[in-house]
Symmetry: C2
Subunit: 511 residues, 2 copies
């Protein structure tokens, strides 16, 4: 049996290698590829996807899985072996339903749409992107149709399941309704006290080189190590891992705004640190890839917001940022800076949004995606619908599509159903945070000393090392003993922002 298992593993290793190669080609495409390389790159990406798909849906894999059924049952469910068989079985059942041609065409269409999206965004002209988006949505429909009769309640659930196993639109809606109910009045209350925060110090002149140096100084303290990590500029920040020792972050720089690149770097560090922390013995298998993007985003959002926008860490880093940008911060107090990086203000760009309004950006996308899929909304009308909802939820006018419907890369790659995971990540991040604060009572004073090792160790031990062994529901249950609950997140926001903006304290603040 162990020989049969090794035979399967050898095949899975090769498939993983192809997927990793594809990830590297994707990273290259966004960071290094000369622009005119796009067309041939689309073919290469598509071929690699087709090959990994074909290698995976090979009947031999099915036969090996079947043969290993009894072996799997004989193993501890939590063992790497049983877990690999479990996730492989699940992936195999899903993959078998998708024709290789469709898989390859989805990749190709996404790769071709990318430069069109970049151009459309630069020119703020949605019509350039529209035909590519139409093709992507059409292909998503074909993809969804592959799962007919598998028990998904809605078309959207099929897509959600790819980004967070078992997640449903209904669950998301429940969480989002609660967020909307609490956040809309909170944001309104904050707006009345807007003058308590002055973020003028964050706007000015920040040479890119110095931004990069400072961001590196921060993430190096967190665990970024040049032997195994990289940081590059890109249009749309992302993290990519080609293995526990090949982690790549990207960020984008704005010479007039420090926080954009700094917090994007910290956010992507959170993603990278998760992937760097998986059990190295699971390398080259699906177990080493975290596929619950809600869990993934819980980590990026945790480092970005709970660590990166927290007061304790800045007690350590504030003198250093003053030194790096003396003209900007030399005469600023830490309290003012802390308020500035936590300023709540309805704004246009999701990735630059504050912690409170961020979720409304997501809810807007979640709603639009469902309407795009159901056909209730014609794609050509998307800009209008976007702008109307931005006005309704955030009270702001969208001046152009580049800062509206064209701002995010996701739809260009055909990724529909991904956005909700950001807000679910917010929710989960505080549920985890409450647990780890209970386990490490002096966390704040550690941060004040520039020490993040115990936090990193806790995350690694309780979450990261497991890789893909547990889905988000199982993981939450293991760590918190319960399910997803927006309560802690909402309490955290109210307490933190209430303190900054001097709001009345409501009952239910965290212990």
């Amino acid at each position: 049996m162990e020989k049969t298992f090794e035979e399967l593993k050898t095949r899975l290793n090769a498939i993983h290698d192809v997927r990793v190669s594809r990830a590297i080609l994707g990273w290259d495409q966004h960071t290094k590829m000369p622009p005119k390389g796009a067309e041939v790159r689309a073919e290469a990406l598509s071929t690699l996807d087709r090959i990994s798909h074909e290698l995976f849906v090979d009947d031999e894999i099915g036969r090996l899985l079947e043969e290993l059924g009894a072996y799997e049952e004989s193993l501890d469910r939590d063992s790497n072996e049983a877990s690999l068989l479990r996730v492989t079985r699940r992936d195999y059942e899903k993959a078998k339903r998708v024709p290789s041609d469709l898989r390859a065409e989805m990749t190709r269409a996404g790769a071709i749409a990318l430069p069109a999206w970049v151009e459309a965004r630069e020119k703020s002209d949605f019509s350039i992107f529209l035909p590519y988006l139409e093709r992507n949505v059409e292909l998503q429909h074909e993809y969804i149709a592959c799962f007919d009769g598998m028990g998904y309640e809605t078309a959207y659930d099929v897509l959600l399941d790819d980004f967070d196993e078992g997640m449903t639109a209904e669950t998301v809606r429940g969480v989002f309704d609660e967020l909307k109910r609490e956040l809309v009045p909170l944001i309104a209350e904050i707006q009345e006290n807007a003058d308590r925060v002055d973020d003028s110090s964050l706007h000015g002149e920040f040479p890119i080189e110095a931004q990069r140096d400072f961001a590196l100084q921060v993430v190096e303290r967190f665990g970024f190590d040049h032997e195994s990590w990289r940081l590059d500029p890109t249009v749309h920040p992302f993290a990519m891992s080609a293995g526990v020792n090949d982690i790549r972050l990207t960020t984008r720089y704005d010479e007039t705004d420090l926080s954009s690149s700094l917090f994007a770097t910290i956010h992507e560090f959170g993603h990278g640190f998760y992937e760097a922390g998986v059990d190295p013995s699971t390398e080259r298998t699906a177990l080493s890839s975290v596929t619950s993007m809600s869990l993934h985003e819980s980590q990026s959002r945790m480092w970005e917001n709970l660590v990166g926008r927290g007061l304790p860490m800045w007690r350590f880093f504030f003198p250093k940022i003053q030194e790096a940008f003396p003209a900007q911060f030399g005469d600023v107090d830490l309290d003012v800076f802390y308020g500035a990086i936590n300023k709540v203000q309805p704004s246009l760009i999701r990735v630059e949004a504050d912690e409170a309004t961020y979720n409304l950006h997501i809810i807007l996308r979640f709603e639009l995606e469902q309407e795009m899929l159901s056909g209730d909304l014609a794609l050509a009308d998307l800009p209008e619908a976007w702008n109307a909802r931005m006005s309704e939820y955030l009270g702001i006018d969208v001046p152009d599509d580049s800062r509206g419907v064209l701002q995010d890369i996701h739809w260009s790659g055909g990724a529909i159903g991904y956005f909700p995971t950001y807000a679910l990540g917010n929710v989960i991040s505080v549920q985890l945070w409450d647990q780890l604060r209970a386990a490490i009572p002096d966390l704040d004073s550690q941060f004040e000393q520039g020490e993040f090792g115990e936090l990193a160790g806790w995350l690694r031990e309780n979450l990261h090392r497991h890789g893909r062994k547990y889905n988000s529901k199982e993981m939450l249950e293991r760590i918190t003993g319960g399910g997803m609950d927006p309560g802690p997140y909402l309490r955290y926001l109210r307490e933190k922002l209430g303190q900054i903006y001097g709001l009345s304290v409501k009952e239910g603040a965290p212990a």
Copy 2:
């Protein structure tokens, strides 16, 4: 039949995509990969090689080739279709003989040897690299054994054939003997007049940024275009093409020496420009990859030496390099500068060697490689043999292995039999140069105006667009009407260096 051809082509396209992906991963490995990513990268490279090999040796490819035999005969031999069938048939027959496991193991061993070579080179400690070299040579022997009975005269011929179809050790030896016979006395004669050249201006302080900017200014004039090309720093300069619109050059910088990075950039430009010039309709097939490295090197060496170390081009660029580095060149005359970049002096490093001594570096490697393969030389004794021959041929002592046997990357990747193509490229470059000068009589004055378009056009029309359609022998025959002949190269060297060093003119100077 055309349908069968398309079926074959679809398969070949996918195989080419995998090879291109592999090339991108290789480029990344040398330029961007965090050092600790090496181990997992070795697996990915090996898997991609195995996959492209397995896809190619699939019996279905053999069947399609057989079925297309009559079709091929019905076509014009020079057509893209017939040429693709011809080279595919040849590759298929060779590839069929190599087991996939061996192919994958060769790649894996090479990828693992790379960091060992880098470390050995840094520490100047051959013993670190030795076990990896031993493994590579062992695998080369297994590889050679696959071609038993195919009519190769020597083991070395098997390897040569991969880098230059049909080339034999005997032919190489003939050419090299002639080079040695003429060059050794020429170099001695030059040494007596060594004080006629002053290259002190090339040594000093050259900030890397400025070196990069100037080199780009040069290659942009030649045809480098940022929409389709990149230039990155690396340990060992190379060029990689992922398509006619994705060409990547690498170079290495020395802050105290301008010529190292500048001429490496021009050299790699020559490689890149060849690949950028293949008929775009052959993209994603083997026809778009030039596999005769002698032809390839003829192009890199032509741009590096015949253009880049020629007086005409510097009549245009010298004022610009004076502007870029005023402290170094402000008070230097063009004639002095021209002498400096053509200084002949026996030295340690091949890639930095002058045009005359360069060939002796190659001849040394050619001889050692044959002894390594035959077993006449134990690998552990390689440094000693290297140093002895450096003393014999170039009269210099090798102070450490880092500047001796460890200087080149080739053996770390298992590439034995590649080196001769550099010197053959030198020889071919002047044979082509004589032809194109006859076709474009005012070439010099074009260069003096900074115009390289007609040269580029001639090369593209007569050589580049054909890609892999013709091997080096056929190509030379098409362009020169004859075979490989070191005469023109030797006459060129004697004339150019004779003028610079004030040597007596021998009979037989070029017309």
